[in-house]
Amino acid sequence: MKQKAEILSQRIRVFGVVQGVGFRPFVSRTARRVGITGSVTNKGSFVEIQAHGTKEALQAFLRCLRQDAPERSDILKIEVTASSALPESSFEIISSAKESSDIFVPPDIAVCKTCSKELFDKHNRRYLHPFINCTACGPRLTILDIMPYDRERTSMGKFPMCKKCEQEYTHPQTRRYDAQPVCCNDCGPQVYLMGRPERGADAIIQTRRAIMDGKIAAVKGIGGFHLCCDAKNETAVRRLRQLKHRPAKPFAVMFRDLSAAKENCCISPKQADILDGCQKPILLLDRKPESTLAKQTAPGNPRIGSMLPYAPLQLLLFTYPDGVAMTDSLIMTSGNVSGAPICKCDADAAAELSGFCDVILSHNRDILTRADDSVMDFLEDKPYMIRRSRGYAPLPFLLSAPLHGQVLGIGGELKNTFCIGKNSLFYPSAYVGDMADIRTVEALKESISRMETLLEASPQVVACDLHPKYNTVRMAEEMGLPVMRVQHHFAHIVSCLAENDCSDEVIGVSFDGTGYGTDGTIWGGEFLRASYGGFTRLGCIQPFLQVGGDASAREGWRIAVSMLHHLFPEDTPRRIQALGLCSAQQAQVVMRMADQNLNSVPSTSTGRLFDAVSAILGIRTSSTFEGEASCALEFSAEAYQKQHLRLSADSFSYSEPLLRSTQKGFVLCTDRLVGWLTQQRLAGEDTGKLAYAFHILLADMVCQGCRKIRQDTELSICALSGGVFQNRLLTGLCATRLRDAGFRVLLHSMVPPNDGGLALGQATAAMYLLNKERNDK
């Protein structure tokens, strides 16, 4: 006889965006389906479920909670404990006793499949409506003024609904129940050409024609304007480069649909899910050899930043019943002066974009918060964020430690984002931009105050970088709050810890462009013993002289000359000439500057090391955009790796030491490595092979450094962060070696390893200090 299965009781708490998204009805439906009894209730910062059922039923229930959660919800964490509550006979929704105290501001969601279908259905009343949306899709953060998220508090407030829309909006059984931006062809916003009479359909048709005539159009999207042109028209793309003063930095491409993307790029199933998912970030994909995109799209770059249309207006740009034979790929680059914030209103566009484009397609639904497109790479077949913005911001990260207080991390100077921390929740903002431009500084101020309002936050402390010349540091000082300075590379490591919710002490490897160190020199190749509470610097790459200030960040040959000058006191000019780094005079100037200590600062920047190696190997002697030389070095190494899969470090017969001990700890012998690469290159060795060898040997050094720290400290978790770890080859090699050596490796996934992730680290470090001070009292 079959024994009756035992009934277990569990208390399940679900944290995240689970309020106001139909989550409790979903829980109740699921419970009934899999045979669970009990109840669900809204507890404010989480949803609590009492569940009774067999072991199998409970397992199925948990799996369904994760897998089938409503599209607009976002589960951060599920906590399960055994419960002593008595079994019940049915499953009930208990109305909430306590109001929500934690706030989840919804990010923007790409137009959904059902809406896309309606958009092109002649019989639907929203046929070709550029603003179609529903409960499961549409703008959120970018149109939101203050919480709670209701129509009158969005930029849709000024558009009264027509009778039919109102009917849908107020009836729970429709797809548009409570969809704040709902509208149709009879009500709602309208598109138009700026400075011209065309409106509505005419405006769209004119824009399509202009693009197919090889013109450049500015198009207002969800989080700001884009500049766009036909990605298959070489002349148009080249012209856009000239107008935007952007000689080589890759442009993103928007494809009409997944199949158009597949014609041009290699896409794995997981990448396809993200590419066509509800956030629609830009994904960095390998370009297929047969791709017909203009060469100027991403010159010298094997990858294409690709995305699919996420706003209905973008769908209409590709498909419209006007007889225009439209391209299936558009360049979509942010509508701004490179370095300034993306334009979000007509006045900005008129002032800044009219010189870059021939036609401006705008509309009268205001963008209240800018949101640049998110950019994502893939590492070990998982998302690896490069720029976290539209679609993701400002979803919070939840730390499991009980923390109390409110903080602001103001972020770094490049790729700035900021982050508000409220208790255990940390909300990284949308991308703000590079602080070199005063308009970006103003945009940061404006976005901070908007987010403070949305999140009902009033920070007690503002955390910023240590660098004396950062504009963000000055801004932090001017806020009138206590200021906490968080060292740059420590902040990188803390951001990685926070993303992984790891409160252990770790070995932090922070490889980066440049950051200000606690000793007044430039850091960027650091080994830190670190936890949320603080850090000690245990090792770094071999320091070199960074000669020429900011110019050395653009011109890797300067670093190369400085390194060679130090490495080979004899015969330097001959080597420099043989490598073709620069003119004899330029070399002499740099060497004199180093000798006289003029505009020279000791540096352990790994980013500059990459630039120097790129120059020495003859790949790039300088960069027109950040990371150009080091990316080219990575590409060269990857191309070589593809052809020689089974190479190991042994095939390079490298016999130099990897690491040497010093009084304070150790340094990686990166200088010896540079010397060796120089000799090999002068002996005629293949560039790609040396580029690959550099990656392999540097990864060996990283692993060696971590082993040394483990010997001394018994720490066995490694966290990899900093902009250099955007390099997938290096990151992959390091992670593999470290895992093989028995380390647990923490990598980024949804927070960028670059300076876009700094703010989360700053905010977390500040929150911990705040709580420590409180506990100490």
Binding site: V337, D437, I438, K469, N471, V589, R592, M593, N599, V601
Partner: protein
């Protein structure tokens, strides 16, 4: 040994008077030059301007001048910037033992020539000799008195939104010339210092308009430092147009190679002038008639917003915040 300065030259005895007679009196001779403890001067009624400045420069000779010329220009220009006609100077020398007498002679000659051009009289002096290694060749301190013109009311506090910002010539020459002279980079660049006495220039500007709000000479910290000082003192913002800032080709070439910003290189003959926008063209026209301001230009304007900040519009349309002056990047150039 006869042709260098010795400790005995500074002992106060016979050799000291010989040195003073043969070098300084020979060049500085004028009716007011004193043989007594202090010069006695007759001054008209009115407001006086009074200032002092010490000069240390290595090397003490450079393309376009030497420390003697520099020491007169520095004080004359400080007085001139207040709208004061320079009248009298006193000079104090600290000379390193072993300094060549013929070089001292050249320095004194340069002082004489520059003072004459500026219409100022050297009326008192002092000479000390320091032991080998105690000073770097030669230090000069000059102190000056000038009489303010009645129409002169300029101060770093008086910049107003709507003012035009004028610079009286291409910038950064002095700092660049010194850098090249000092470091032997082997750069083939022919850069001479802009070192010049500017009273004549200032006088002509005041003759053109009496609405001159600010005049500053951009010395050690360069034009950038002056602009930040004024933005701060007047609580205004300053917006520069990078393309309008005059920089000699050689200077921008050298700056490019060294990774330096010309706005932070020293000048010794350049003024930064703030006048109402309406007067700007007339002032620039006047400046173009003067010998040391042939490439004077309007480089920006004063704004009410962003007080205390200097923003530069670049060629590609960026509006960058000019980095704050100071920090360790630049060597100290005087």
């Amino acid at each position: 040994m006869d042709n260098t300065v010795t400790l005995a030259h500074g002992a106060g005895g016979k050799q000291t008077s010989q040195l003073i007679d043969s070098v300084f009196k020979a060049h500085f001779a004028n009716p007011d030059f004193t043989a007594d403890d202090a010069a006695v001067l007759q001054v008209d009624s009115g407001r006086l301007a009074f200032t002092t400045d010490g000069f240390i420069v290595s090397p003490y000779e450079f393309p376009g001048g030497n420390i003697g010329k520099l020491s007169i220009c520095g004080t004359v220009n400080d007085l001139s910037c207040m709208g004061a006609k320079p009248l009298y100077l006193a000079c104090s020398f600290v000379i390193e033992e072993g300094f060549p007498l013929d070089k001292l002679e050249e320095i004194a000659a340069a002082m004489e020539k520059t003072a004459k051009e500026a219409g100022v009289r050297i009326v008192a002096g002092d000479t000390k000799v320091a032991g080998k290694g105690q000073v770097d060749h030669i230090f000069i301190t000059t102190t000056g008195i000038g009489r303010l013109m009645d129409c002169a009311h300029t101060s770093g506090k008086y910049a107003k939104p709507g003012d035009a910002v004028i610079v009286t010539g291409d910038i950064g020459r002095h700092g660049c010339a010194i850098l090249l002279a000092r470091n032997e980079f082997g750069i083939d660049a022919d850069v001479t210092s802009d070192c010049a006495p500017l009273w004549g220039t200032v006088k002509k500007m005041f003759d053109t308009t009496d609405q001159i709000h600010v005049v500053r000479d951009a010395t050690r910290g360069g034009v950038g430092t002056v602009l930040y000082e004024i933005a701060d003192q007047s609580h205004v913002g300053i917006q520069l147009d990078a393309q309008k800032i005059p920089v000699a080709g050689e200077v921008s070439g050298v700056c490019g190679m060294l990774g330096l910003e010309p706005l932070y290189l020293a000048c010794e003959g350049r003024l930064v002038v703030f006048v109402p926008k309406e007067q700007a063209q007339a002032v620039v026209d006047t400046l173009h008639q003067c010998p040391y301001s042939k490439n004077a230009a309007v480089i920006g304007e004063v704004t009410a917003d962003m007080p205390g900040k200097v923003v530069m519009k670049t060629e590609i349309g960026l509006q960058t915040l000019l980095p704050q002056p100071g920090g360790e990047l630049l060597p100290r150039i005087c």
